[in-house]
C-alpha cells in the first residue's frame, strides 16, 4: 500500500476519527488531485503567482505541511481499530474530500510536469472521518471560522518577536505602547525594527504607502519576498543586526541609525555590502556617513517627500558603500538627485 498510517485518534465532538499518514507525491497525484473540486462548497483553485514560489520549492525539495482529507463514514462500534480505519481509508480514498490543501495539491500538480520533479518524495496527510456531511461541515467551520489568511506583515511581525531576542546586546526594542514615553537612549521602536526587516526581506524601501490599501500592500510585499533571493542568499538578517550593534559603539552612528528612515534604507542597502562594511573601521564609516549627510543636506527638502527620499538615498548609498564612501561631495549630490 502506498499510504503509511501513523496514529489514530477519536474526535468525540463530531463522533469521528482522525488519522495521520503520509504518502508519495506519485500517489497523491493519482488519487488526491482528482478529488479537488468534489466538494461544491470549496474554493476555486487559485492560479496565483504566489504559488509559483511554492512550485519552485517543490522541485527543489521542500516538505509541505500536511493536507487534510475528509471522508464520511460511520464505523460499527466494534471496528474502530487502526487497521480497520486505515483499511477503510485505503479502499475508499477516491471518495474523499480535500478539506485543506487544495492550493498545495494544485501546485504539486503543476510542479509534477516540470523537469527535476521527484515523485517519490513524501506528502503528509491528516484524514478526518466523520459520520455525516453536516458534522464535517461543522468541523470545517469551527476550524476555519473567521479565518483570514495571515498577512505577510503579520507573519513577519510574529517571527521578529520570537526570533530576534535582543537580550545582552545594545538595542532595546520598545513596543508601540511605550511610544509616548521618553525616548531613552539605546532604544529602538519595535515597529521600526519590523519595518526594517520587511524592507530587508522584500528588498524595497517603499513598504508603507497610504494610498495602497493594506491588503494590496501585503500582496505586493509578499510577491517581492517571493521574487527575492532569500533562500539562496548567504546573508542573514542577523548579520545586519550585528552591524547595527557595532554601530552603537559610536555615538554618531548610533544616533544616525536610530532614525527610522536611515534604518530602513540601511537594511535594504546592506544586503549587498554587509561584508564590506563589516571589514571597514567605524571611523571610516563615520566619515562616509558624514559625507553622505553633507551631500544629502543639499537636497531641497521642501520639494520632495523627505522620508521617502532619505530611505531611497541611504539604501543606494549603503548598497554601493565601497564605491560611494570615497566619492566627493559634488559628485555625491548628483548621484543623490538621480536616486530620489
Amino acid at each position: 500500500m502506498t499510504i503509511n498510517y501513523f496514529s489514530l485518534d477519536t474526535d468525540k465532538v463530531i463522533d469521528g476519527y482522525v488519522m495521520s499518514a503520509s504518502t508519495t507525491y506519485d500517489f497523491a497525484l493519482k488519487h488526491l488531485v482528482p478529488l479537488i473540486g468534489r466538494l461544491d462548497i470549496q474554493r476555486d483553485a487559485l492560479n496565483t503567482k504566489f504559488y509559483s514560489g511554492l512550485e519552485e520549492d517543490i522541485i527543489r525539495g521542500c516538505v509541505m505541511p500536511p493536507i487534510t482529507v475528509a471522508m464520511i463514514h460511520t464505523f460499527l462500534a466494534a471496528r474502530k481499530t487502526t487497521t480497520s480505519v486505515s483499511n477503510y481509508i485505503s479502499n475508499h480514498i477516491d471518495s474523499g474530500f480535500i478539506l485543506d490543501g487544495i492550493q498545495r495539491l494544485n501546485t504539486l500538480h503543476r510542479a509534477s510536469t516540470r523537469k527535476g520533479f521527484d515523485k517519490n518524495r513524501r506528502l503528509h496527510i491528516n484524514f478526518i472521518i466523520a459520520g455525516s456531511r453536516d458534522r464535517l461541515l461543522y468541523r470545517m467551520i469551527t476550524l476555519n471560522n473567521g479565518q483570514k489568511p495571515m498577512s505577510a506583515r503579520h507573519q513577519i511581525d510574529v517571527l521578529a518577536d520570537s526570533f530576534f531576542l535582543f537580550d545582552g546586546i545594545d538595542i532595546k526594542l520598545i513596543p508601540e505602547k511605550g511610544k509616548g514615553r521618553v525616548r531613552a537612549p539605546d532604544t529602538f521602536k519595535k515597529a521600526d525594527f519590523v519595518k526594517g526587516y520587511i524592507a530587508y526581506l522584500s528588498g524595497s524601501v517603499n513598504i508603507d504607502n497610504q494610498k495602497i490599501i493594506e491588503e494590496k500592500m501585503d500582496e505586493l510585499i509578499a510577491s517581492k519576498i517571493i521574487d527575492s533571493n532569500i533562500p539562496t542568499s548567504t546573508l542573514e538578517f542577523t548579520d545586519i543586526v550585528d552591524l547595527v550593534n557595532e554601530f552603537s559603539k559610536s555615538e554618531k552612528l548610533k544616533d544616525w541609525i536610530r532614525n527610522q528612515n536611515n534604518f530602513i534604507g540601511f537594511c535594504v542597502g546592506a544586503k549587498n555590502s554587509a561584508s564590506i562594511m563589516k571589514s571597514t573601521s567605524l571611523i571610516s564609516i563615520e566619515k562616509a556617513i558624514d559625507g553622505f549627510e553633507k551631500a544629502f543636506s543639499s537636497v531641497d527638502v521642501s520639494k520632495v517627500n523627505l522620508g521617502k527620499a532619505r530611505r531611497e538615498a541611504v539604501s543606494k548609498f549603503i548598497d554601493g558603500f565601497k564605491k560611494y564612501a570615497k566619492t566627493d561631495e559634488y559628485e555625491l549630490i548628483e548621484k543623490i538627485s538621480d536616486w530620489i
Binding site: 524595497s204 513598504i207 504607502n209 495602497i212 494590496k216 521642501s302 520639494k303 517627500n305 521617502k308 538621480d338
Partner: protein
C-alpha cells in the same frame, strides 16, 4: 448646501468648508475623486461615493469634511489645509476645469450605464494628462540636476507622440512610485448575456502585458504601470474600424455589448487616471509655502 457649476454640470455638497472655495475646479475635482460630492447635468443626478484615491478604489467611508486633510496626507502634499485653500483657488484653473469636466461627464455616463460613452471621457482625460502632467511635474522640481536628466531621458529617445512620452514619464517611477506602479488590478469580465469569454478573448488577444490571465474565470490582472497602455490599446482597436490596414480592430461580434464591455474596464481606468490627477495637484503644492 453649496453648489457650483462647471461646463453645464452642477456639483453640490453640504459641509462647512471655506466660502468661495467651490469656485476652484481643483477643489471640486479632489472632492469628486474622493467620493464626497453630488453632481447633476439636469437629467442625471448622482452622489459619487467611491474613493478613487486609493489603490484599488474603495467605498468612501470618511466624513466629507475630512476629504481635503486626507488628500494632503495621503499624497504627501506637505502643506497645511489653510495654505492649500489659499493657493488652490487661482492656479491652473483652465487645465483643471477641463479635467474636472471629463471626470464629471464620465460619472454621469457611467450612472446612465452608457459605459462606451463614459470611456471616451476617460480617454480624453488621458490625452490631456499626457503632455501637461510631465511638464507640470518638471516645473515643480527646482533641483535642476535631476530635472535635466529626466527631461533628457524623456525627450531624447525614440518616443511616439505625447502618449509615448507620458508612458515613459510614468515608468520612471518618480511621479507615482515603483511600489504603486507594481500594484495589480483585477479586471473581471462579467456579462448578463454570457459574453464574458468573448470580452476576455477580445482583450487578451490585443494586449499581452497582463500579469495573470484566467480564461475559465474570464479574469485578468494588470499592473498599474500598464493600465494607460491598455486604455490606449483598447481605444485604438475599438474606435477605428478600417478593415484594410489589418490592425485587428475590435468588431462588434467580438464585443457584442460594448457598454457591458467597457463597464468591466472603466472603473480601473478611472482609478489610475484619478491617481494621476490627484498626484499632479499634490505635486504642485509641494512647492508652495
Amino acid at each position: 448646501m453649496t453648489t457650483t457649476i462647471f461646463d453645464g454640470i452642477t456639483y453640490s455638497y453640504v459641509d462647512n468648508s471655506p466660502a468661495h472655495i467651490e469656485k476652484s475646479p481643483q477643489y471640486i475635482l479632489v472632492r469628486l475623486l474622493y467620493g464626497a460630492i453630488s453632481l447633476s447635468n439636469g437629467t442625471t443626478t448622482l452622489r459619487q461615493k467611491t474613493k478613487f484615491s486609493s489603490i484599488p478604489w474603495t467605498q468612501q467611508a470618511a466624513r466629507p469634511s475630512e476629504c481635503i486633510p486626507n488628500f494632503l496626507s495621503d499624497f504627501n502634499a506637505g502643506t497645511e489645509v489653510d495654505s492649500f485653500y489659499r493657493s488652490i483657488s487661482t492656479e491652473n484653473r483652465a487645465f483643471y476645469q477641463h479635467i474636472l469636466s471629463e471626470f464629471g461627464n464620465y460619472f454621469i455616463q457611467t450612472k446612465r450605464n452608457c459605459h462606451t460613452a463614459a470611456f471616451v471621457f476617460l480617454y480624453r482625460a488621458l490625452e490631456q494628462f499626457s503632455y501637461s502632467v510631465p511638464l507640470l511635474y518638471c516645473s515643480t522640481q527646482r533641483d535642476y540636476i535631476g530635472t535635466f536628466n529626466q527631461l533628457k531621458s524623456l525627450f531624447g529617445t525614440d518616443i511616439k507622440g505625447e502618449l509615448g512620452l507620458f508612458r515613459k514619464f510614468l515608468d520612471q517611477g518618480v511621479f507615482l512610485d515603483q511600489m504603486e506602479l507594481d500594484t495589480t488590478f483585477q479586471i473581471d469580465f462579467v456579462s448578463a448575456h454570457g459574453f464574458q469569454n468573448k470580452y476576455y478573448k477580445a482583450t487578451t488577444d490585443r494586449f499581452d502585458k497582463f500579469t495573470q490571465k484566467d480564461s475559465t474565470l474570464s479574469q485578468v490582472q494588470i499592473k498599474l504601470r500598464h493600465v494607460p497602455e491598455l486604455l490606449i490599446a483598447i481605444r485604438n482597436r475599438f474606435f477605428h474600424h478600417a478593415t484594410g490596414e489589418g490592425q485587428n480592430n475590435l468588431s462588434l461580434s467580438s464585443v457584442p455589448n460594448s457598454d457591458e464591455y467597457f463597464g468591466c474596464l472603466n472603473t480601473c481606468f478611472c482609478n489610475v487616471l484619478a491617481l494621476i490627477a490627484l498626484q499632479s495637484i499634490a505635486q504642485r503644492y509641494k512647492t508652495s509655502r
